[in-house]
């Protein structure tokens, strides 16, 4: 297919259509409403299920119902709406049915604003819903990546019977870029052997997330943990730029990683040997790869659009062996490359220590006026 000038939200929605999604249930919320609106036109056109639900609470439960029948089902929302979905996500995880969620992340907490942020990392990667479950979380940095990861999300969700979330910064949802949509895939023709669709010619099936006998619940938790380790072993995704001879590494995902790349190219032009490690799967997190990078790196700069959520995972990988610095814009503000370039220079030329709290050092620099916010 040819490259077209596509908006991120539209592209993710149409990518899901091409991947064979059979049911979309959602609710308007900025900055992802375009997904709902495109689906409201496209799904009925293809005679697939679409409904604007009365709330995100209802939407996620509609997805739950459709997913229980073996259908490819999805929803999309933004940060406050995703909070409302947490109960439903926990139930879906407790039933081991596949589903795909697109979260187009905005400023928070609370009502926040409609500008881009990366503040949902913890909510999606480290839980959000109650109980022990882990979702696959993929973070695109471009419209093309958003398309590719949305298609991948359905395959991963079904392969592992796990929730798969595409976590797109608000900027990715709203930007327009040249990108290519995939060919239309045919819809599935068979039904999974766990699906509930009426017991014609077979014994009854029940899909439930209640296991009132704690012994059975423990066994279930072990089972999905085993699945998680299989996912970890097979589904880590990331991209490396200029790492072959890098002495310093910037770590950032999504929009932050993309902006950092421009800064890194500028730094390289100044002779600084810096590279970028950009996680694409933030869950499973590329711990093995970072642990390997520690051996050859003199210092990391973590940059995010939140107050250091991925930072804590990086610190876990680095285990205090190497200095880490932190730089963030939050509340809906998107950093400029020259801000990150300034931080790269500070990391490279300034004093470094593997001790202390990178977040606090960053906050102190803000208070001291060392960093001025544009």
């Amino acid at each position: 297919m040819a490259k077209e000038f596509l908006e991120g939200n539209f592209a993710m929605a149409e990518a899901a259509v091409r991947a064979g999604v059979e049911a979309y249930f959602g609710y308007p919320i900025t900055p992802q409403t375009e997904i709902l609106e495109w689906m409201s036109h496209r799904m009925p056109e293809l005679k697939r299920a679409f409904l604007q639900a009365e709330s995100e609470v209802a939407a996620i439960n509609m997805v739950y119902g459709a997913a229980c029948t073996g259908a490819r089902a999805m929803s999309s929302s933004s940060s406050p709406g995703v909070s409302l979905m947490m109960e439903g996500l926990s139930y879906i995880a407790g039933t081991e049915v596949p589903m795909v969620l697109i979260d187009v992340v905005r400023g928070g907490p609370g009502l926040g604003n409609i500008a881009p942020s990366q503040g949902d990392y913890n909510q999606l990667v480290h839980g959000g819903g109650h109980g022990d479950y882990r979702s696959i979380v993929l973070a695109p940095a471009s419209v093309q990546e958003a398309i590719d990861l949305t298609v991948l999300a359905f395959d991963l969700a079904e392969k592992y019977r796990n929730i798969c979330i595409v976590m797109a910064d608000g900027s990715i949802g709203q930007m327009m870029e040249p990108a290519e949509l995939p060919e239309m895939r045919p819809l599935r023709t068979n039904t999974p052997d766990w699906a509930v669709d009426g017991c014609l010619n077979r014994p009854q099936r029940i899909l439930t997330s209640i296991l009132i006998d704690p012994t059975l619940e423990e066994i279930y938790n072990h089972k999905i943990l085993d699945t998680w380790y299989r996912i970890q072993a097979n589904e880590i995704r990331y991209k490396e730029y200029y790492l072959d001879d890098a002495e310093f590494v910037v770590i950032g995902f999504g929009t932050a990683g993309r902006i950092a790349l421009t800064a890194i190219r500028n730094a390289r032009a100044e002779g600084i040997k810096v590279g970028l490690f950009r996680p694409i799967s933030v869950s499973p997190f590329p711990f093995p790869q970072l642990e390997e990078l520690v051996k050859t790196t003199q210092g990391f700069l973590v940059t995010e659009m939140n107050t250091g959520q991925m930072l804590d995972d990086v610190r876990m990988a680095v285990k205090g062996q190497v200095p880490i610095e932190f730089y963030a814009r939050v509340g809906g503000i998107v950093p400029y490359p020259d801000e990150i370039l300034g931080e790269i220079r500070r990391l490279v030329h300034g004093p470094k220590s593997p001790d202390g709290d990178p977040r606090q050092r960053w906050m102190q620099r803000l208070k001291d006026g060392v960093i001025t916010l544009s």
């Binding site: 059979e22 049911a23 249930f25 299920a49 409904l51 639900a53 009365e54 709330s55 609470v57 209802a58 939407a59 439960n61 509609m62 997805v63 739950y64 119902g65 459709a66 997913a67 229980c68 029948t69 259908a71 089902a73 109960e87 439903g88 139930y91 039933t95 509930v196 669709d197 009426g198 017991c199 014609l200 010619n201 009854q204 099936r205 029940i206 899909l207 439930t208 997330s209 209640i210 009132i212």
Partner: protein, 260 residues
């Protein structure tokens, strides 16, 4: 001279096929069991057991799926109508029904039930109204009567601070999307027979695609009301029926001529 008359043995009643062989956990005399039995009888008579999917609530009937022999899913508290919507939209030819108590439907699930009725979703809802929260030990429900003592209204429901009971059948019947919304009771054989006919009509409504169908069934909770099963049936008749009249609130004309 008359020959000796021949006799034959008729089975007047036998256990419905759509029930499984699992004894229920409900309290002795709980009308949940009657409601379950009536649903199973209707599914047997319509021969739709293999095309039916039930959506279980959170409440005493959270394990309803153990007592029936067909496909079920378990919903989060109050969300059964939303789950049922998701299922009906991808499997429009199956019979999808929810089975919900008064907390599930009229409290936490208020938004979901209002909207399935508003959308005219072709699903059936069996609403068990026993004016109390059974599973969690007898707290006040949106359907609890004024003055009724529960564990969270120990001095009796005070309408000033706790509001009045909610009449769900009346409210939902006002929606254009509703096709069949009625209230029946399970407190004596005559009313149980009428309840069964209503449940049958509700499933016929779904079969004919006539919109949202709901049968509100006045039920007892002898354990949390603190009475014997027989006393609770009398209490239902004396106190609940005056507040929750047994009536047809919405019967769409598409059901004209239906004989059940």
């Amino acid at each position: 001279m008359d020959a000796p008359s021949q006799t034959e043995i008729q089975t007047v009643y036998s256990r419905p096929v759509s029930l499984s062989n699992t004894p229920t956990h409900y309290c002795p005399g709980c009308t949940h069991g009657i409601a379950h039995r009536l649903i199973a009888e209707v599914l047997d008579e319509m021969d739709i057991r293999e095309k039916t999917i039930g959506v279980a609530p959170v409440g005493c009937s959270v394990f309803a799926y153990n007592y029936f022999d067909f496909d079920w899913v378990e919903a989060a508290h109050g969300r059964a109508p939303a789950m049922a919507t998701g299922m009906k939209r991808v499997l429009p030819d199956r019979f999808i029904f929810t089975y919900q108590g008064d907390g599930d439907l009229a409290s936490i699930g208020m938004s979901e039930i209002m909207h399935v009725a508003g959308r005219g979703e072709n699903i059936t809802v069996i609403f068990i109204n026993n004016a109390i929260y059974g599973m969690t030990g007898g707290q006040m429900a949106p359907t609890t009567l004024p003055g009724q003592k529960t564990t969270s209204s120990p001095h009796g429901r005070d309408v000033e601070t706790m509001g009045y009971p909610l009449h769900m059948a009346e409210v939902l019947s006002t929606m254009e999307g509703a096709g069949y919304v009625v209230r029946r009771s399970l407190h004596d054989p005559k009313n149980i027979r009428l309840a069964k006919k209503a449940i049958r009509t509700a499933f016929e409504t779904q079969k004919r695609g006539l919109g949202f169908s709901m049968v509100e069934l006045l039920s007892t909770c002898s354990t949390n009301w603190g009475m014997t099963p027989q006393e609770s049936l009398v209490w239902l008749q004396d106190y609940m029926i005056p507040v929750y009249p047994l009536q047809d609130f919405k019967v769409t004309s598409g059901l004209d001529g239906l004989k059940v």
